[in-house]
Subunit: 215 residues, 2 copies
DNA sequence: GCCTTTCGATACGACACTGTATCGGATACA
DNA sequence: TGTATCCGATACAGTGTCGTATCGAAAGGC
């Protein structure tokens, strides 16, 4: 089982590989159903490595949730930067929905992201630590999206129907639910429709909602 | 542990008690973490009774999910009937949000309902059977809410911004997410705020969204 | 190049849960 | 009241997982 790759011999490397494996396994079978053994097997280690790096599955999950959250926020922020850099002349009329859609589809394009966020959210319904982390990440996301909306409004001189914060809140709400529904629909007709269709459905729905909320 | 009550000696009674117990335990610790033993203990039975009535925990969950779904739909339909019965003169100006809020807060007032629906939904992300059941229930709910919106519009002669179906979809989306967030917030500041505050927060948010979407 | 330290593998004991097979008592019916 | 049936309790074997304790080997310091 020891892979051909054992070049970098750092502890951090092991940790990250375990986190990656855990992410995959959690998405596949859920947090509770994921045994420590399954995680280690996927990472190419044995349980010895696990307990050498983490005290428990819960601790690993907490760290993983933090990583996922910060990754998502970072991704959105990166896109914000890209938009700002585009400058005042970068937009065409009616592209608002499209831009927001593009910004928000961080995580919508991968089934795993949806599964993982769902796992984090359901954990947040019972664990105070996870709950706080979840809310913090959510607030950060809202702030970023609100910033985008504000920027676009300023650039184009548009006056939206609601303040940016509330609009961002609604957008994120709609987006999140749409992504989940898309995955569920894919599971229902187990034809395993490709990611493309999933993205398209989510995107279309979001565009509609954005238009409705903002314009 | 055998309760004082063993008057009705029907098999169906046992089944229902097991389903009720399962509902509570699922809400508390989640589906995977809920052992058959824990469910039986709460119901006041031993595992013998369980396996005499259900083939497995999964089968029980499927039946429970069906029961919960039909209960929710029935509750909403009952409220629809009440509204229709109220007649054309039953509404005051600006009460649309309040009415929708009232209709939708089926399940929002209890933490257990939110936890249970989350459990069903996360299961729907992996199990085709649950996925189909989930989508069916969701479609039915949408249909009912759309009907309410249509009726109200007709009664008051209001022309909404969007068609009733889409509005219902958005309303349900916002409501669902708001309910989940409210519970998470309650978990985050573990002061265990009462249900009242939770309902209030959810209701206020929903009212805002309803106004935004419809008017 | 030796020695210390670190890190992951292996081995072990314990435990929780599952599903089945059997048993005893209560219920229904005549 | 006697008998057949049903249903839930009890007993049991099997399995998977956990956390720890120990060991061997590779990495890093001097």
């Amino acid at each position: 089982m020891s892979d051909v790759k054992a070049p970098t011999r750092s502890r951090e490397n092991t940790r990250q590989r375990l986190l990656d494996a855990a992410m995959a396994v959690f998405a596949e079978v859920g947090l509770d159903a994921a045994s420590v053994e399954a995680i280690c097997e996927r990472a190419g280690f044995t349980r010895g490595a696990f307990y050498s790096n983490f005290a428990s599955k819960d601790e690993l999950f907490l760290q993983l949730a933090a990583r996922v959250a910060s990754d998502r926020v970072a991704a959105v922020q990166a896109r914000v930067g890209g938009l700002v850099a585009a400058g005042p002349g970068g937009f065409d009329e009616g592209e608002i929905s499209a831009i927001l859609e593009q910004v928000l589809d961080v995580g919508a394009d991968d089934r795993m992201g949806v599964l993982l966020m769902s796992e984090i959210r359901i954990r947040a319904l019972r664990d105070p630590d996870v709950a706080r982390a979840f809310l913090a990440q959510d607030a950060e996301m809202q702030r970023n999206v609100a910033q985008i909306i504000t920027d676009i409004g300023a650039l184009k001189g548009i006056e939206f129907r609601v303040d940016a914060a509330q609009a961002a809140h609604l957008m994120l709400t709609v987006w999140e639910t749409a992504a989940v529904r898309a995955v569920i629909r894919g599971v229902a007709d187990e034809s395993e429709r490709g990611e493309a269709a999933l993205r398209a459905a989510t995107g279309a729905h979001l565009a509609e909602a954005a238009h409705l909320i903002l314009c």
